[in-house]
């Protein structure tokens, strides 16, 4: 069967216009919502009602918007970590595990306790942040080392380590530090709570109930740092070069193995910090399911942001909204499905970046 029209792919010879990557990402989001709406409709739901509910649940009030920012906070850090690794073509899918390990290491400061809990707040929190970063970095080191030394597929190792991290955490939550047999540790001392806007409610009543915590600042600072590293440092240049052309990088004398390990550790450190920020800023204890699949959403955030550190922030906020709304709307797998569809569409729309796509009429083409 021959259609009278044909879709024509022409490799791009000139640079991609600046607006196009942004446009394809936006397009992917919109089309993903349409497709998911059709699925909803097909199973007997009313997509308009669900989406209206979704927007009011997500953006309806300052309190709701603050919830979104709280959910976006770990996503910013994890998305940044994934973006750095992807930049070098290292697929770190283990942010989930690194997040748990960061949370675990940070919690040890309080649970062991590593320093006396009557120390000043800033000291406790700084140590917790350092431990969180350390935990994530160590957990990123393992797959990085295996990849660099034995060329072991990092996708599988990071994924397997995710499961291991969850069981590891469960052991300590249930077995060692359980609060009266519940699957959580006792609530941390106030000294280990990240400051929240709600803490200022006494002076500024406007902030009452606003749960946004200092972790969001970690995320924003990390975005600036990663941007500086990638754009203005020698290391960032090496990362980009290895990602673009590992052979050339090798000829240029760049130590690829060392960079694989370091980038995995940096990526893990950011996820670990996210874990620390979540236990100190939100749940205030170590417990099961502190992550609602942040690690996986972070992968999608990084991709949708086209690995741009600043673009990670708005995309993380969008995904924060998806997670917040996902808690409210039924069926519960919906936000997961929308995320998967978005990622699918983003990478397929890359075809527009590589090719000029046009529709031509066959008879015109044959005449020419």
């Amino acid at each position: 069967m021959r259609l009278p029209y044909r879709i024509k792919f022409e490799p791009r010879t000139k640079d991609v216009p600046k607006w196009l990557p942004f446009a394809t990402s936006m397009g992917a989001i919109i089309v993903a919502f349409i497709i998911s709406g059709i699925v909803l409709w097909a199973i007997g739901g009313n997509p308009f009602r669900v989406y209206r509910y979704f927007f009011s649940a997500a953006f309806g009030s300052w309190g709701a918007f603050s919830d979104i920012l709280v959910k976006a906070t770990p996503l910013i850090m994890i998305g940044l970590g994934c973006a750095v690794a992807f930049k070098m073509n290292i697929l770190n899918i283990g942010a989930e595990g690194q997040f748990y390990m960061g949370a675990f290491f940070a919690s040890m400061v309080v649970l062991v306790p590593i320093i006396p809990l009557d120390s000043p707040k800033w000291m406790v929190l700084t140590l917790m942040a350092v431990m969180g970063i350390l935990g994530g970095a160590l957990y990123g080191f393992i797959p990085g080392f295996l990849k660099a030394m034995f060329n072991v597929n990092e996708i599988i190792t990071t994924l397997m380590l995710n499961y291991v991290a969850v069981y590891w955490n469960n052991y300590w939550i249930f077995g060692k530090y359980s609060d009266a047999g519940f699957q959580m540790t006792p609530t941390f001392d106030k000294v280990a709570w990240l400051p929240r806007l709600a803490d200022l409610a006494r002076e500024h009543p406007f902030f009452s109930g606003i749960t946004l915590h200092l972790g969001v600042v970690f995320g924003l600072v990390a975005a600036v740092l990663i941007w500086v590293i990638l754009k203005h440092s020698r290391w960032g240049y090496e990362i980009t070069l290895i990602g673009d052309n590992p052979k050339a990088a090798n000829y240029a004398g760049i130590n690829i193995k060392k960079n694989i390990i370091l980038v995995m550790m940096l990526s893990g450190a950011l996820a670990g910090l996210a874990g620390m920020s979540e236990v100190t800023g939100v749940v205030h204890r170590l417990q099961e399911r502190i992550s609602t699949n942040y690690g996986f959403s972070g992968v999608i955030v990084a991709w949708l942001a086209k690995l741009n550190p600043f673009a990670v922030i708005p995309v993380a906020i969008l995904f924060g909204a998806l997670i917040v709304a996902g808690r409210e709307i039924q069926p519960s797998g919906l936000s997961f499905m929308i995320q998967g569809t978005i990622l699918f569409l983003v990478i397929s729309s890359d075809v527009f970046l590589r090719y000029k796509v046009s529709i031509v009429r066959r008879h015109q083409e044959e005449a020419a």
Partner: protein, 321 residues
């Protein structure tokens, strides 16, 4: 704890990994890496369970499971074969999509009952002394299907003409193309077949070997273990099957280890402190990593196994593989 019980349980649950791994081997042999196995298994498990429950017919459920996995895999095919997108990321998004879709469509299925694929003993073969009672007695039909799949896949890959074409497309698509083999067609076909087998693996869980729908816990990472098995087995269905059975036995073994109060004359720590079981649950995942390290090392020494064009999109008329 009984070695025979562990062995038989291994043959039974190992079938799930075996079917998924062989499907992935076929796809990867044609040059398409599909990391969406977990998602395809989950959607297969959900579709099989739902259709079997609604129609009260396990066979229709089985068909639905197979088709669901196959259809989902075609999305991956479209994106990576026609649109030449990154295979790794597309596979990952297929996992997210399959998981999300399975959760959305599988809402409310938890706890329901469904007809299942029957178990039986094979006449005559089950009468063979020693072997018969162990491997041909009282298994689910799909376990026997698994047995058959191993030699069929092996024979197909190494000894038949279409199998050779498939390998050619995965090794050197440009040469295959010049011989008149359709590279895109072949890749679509085996991506689809791989997806169907992943769907079958999922259906094997939900309506045959451990019937039920427990949302995303139904597959609990087995799709990823299947992918790791493929790398470990260096794309050989026989090794992959043995690995699958081994992981099946391991699962049962770690379960059984929690039972007895005494173990080889010692106090069994897993019996007295139930929380130590979390460490047992890590074992399959840690062992997968060990197997991968070992497999990668062996692959490097022997320099064989990996299809040369794996993961590389084929663009007709361009220089390349």
């Amino acid at each position: 704890m009984n070695l025979l019980v562990i062995f038989r349980a291994g043959l039974s649950t190992g079938t799930i990994l075996l079917i998924a791994a062989i499907g992935e081997i076929l796809a990867e042999r044609s040059g398409v890496m599909n990391l969406g196995v977990e998602g395809m298994m989950l959607i297969g498990a959900m579709a099989a369970f739902k259709v079997a429950h609604v129609t009260q017919n396990a066979w229709l459920g089985l068909m639905a499971g197979i088709l669901a996995g196959g259809i989902l895999s075609l999305m991956h095919g479209l994106v990576v074969i026609s649109l030449q997108a990154d295979q790794t990321v597309s596979g990952l998004s297929l996992t997210f999509l399959g998981t999300g879709l399975a959760l959305v469509l599988g809402e409310g299925l938890t706890g329901l009952n469904t007809p299942t694929i029957p178990s039986f003993s094979i006449p005559l073969l089950s009468k063979i002394p020693y072997i018969g009672p162990i491997i041909f007695t009282d298994f689910n039909l799909l376990v026997y299907v698994g047995y058959l799949l191993i030699p069929i896949a092996w024979y197909f890959i190494y000894k038949t003409r279409p199998g050779m074409h498939m390998r050619a497309v995965g090794e050197k698509p440009s040469a295959a193309d010049s011989l008149g083999i359709s590279v895109y067609g072949t890749r679509y076909l085996y991506t689809f077949v791989g997806g169907c087998l992943a769907g079958l693996a999922g259906a094997t869980i939900s309506i045959a070997i451990s019937p039920g729908w427990y949302s995303s816990l139904t597959t609990s990472g087995q799709g990823w273990i299947a992918i790791a098995l493929v790398i470990f087995a260096r794309w050989n269905p026989i090794t992959a099957a043995l690995g699958g059975y081994f992981f099946g036995m391991l699962r049962r073994f770690t379960l059984d280890l929690q039972g007895p109060a005494m173990l080889l004359g010692f106090r069994n720590p897993f019996f007295y402190n139930h929380n130590l079981v979390f460490f047992l649950q890590m074992v399959p995942f840690l062992l997968t990593i060990v197997a991968l390290v070992w497999g990668s090392g062996a692959a490097r020494r022997k320099r064989k196994g990996t299809p040369a064009a794996l993961g590389i999109p084929y663009i007709r008329g361009e220089r390349g593989l």
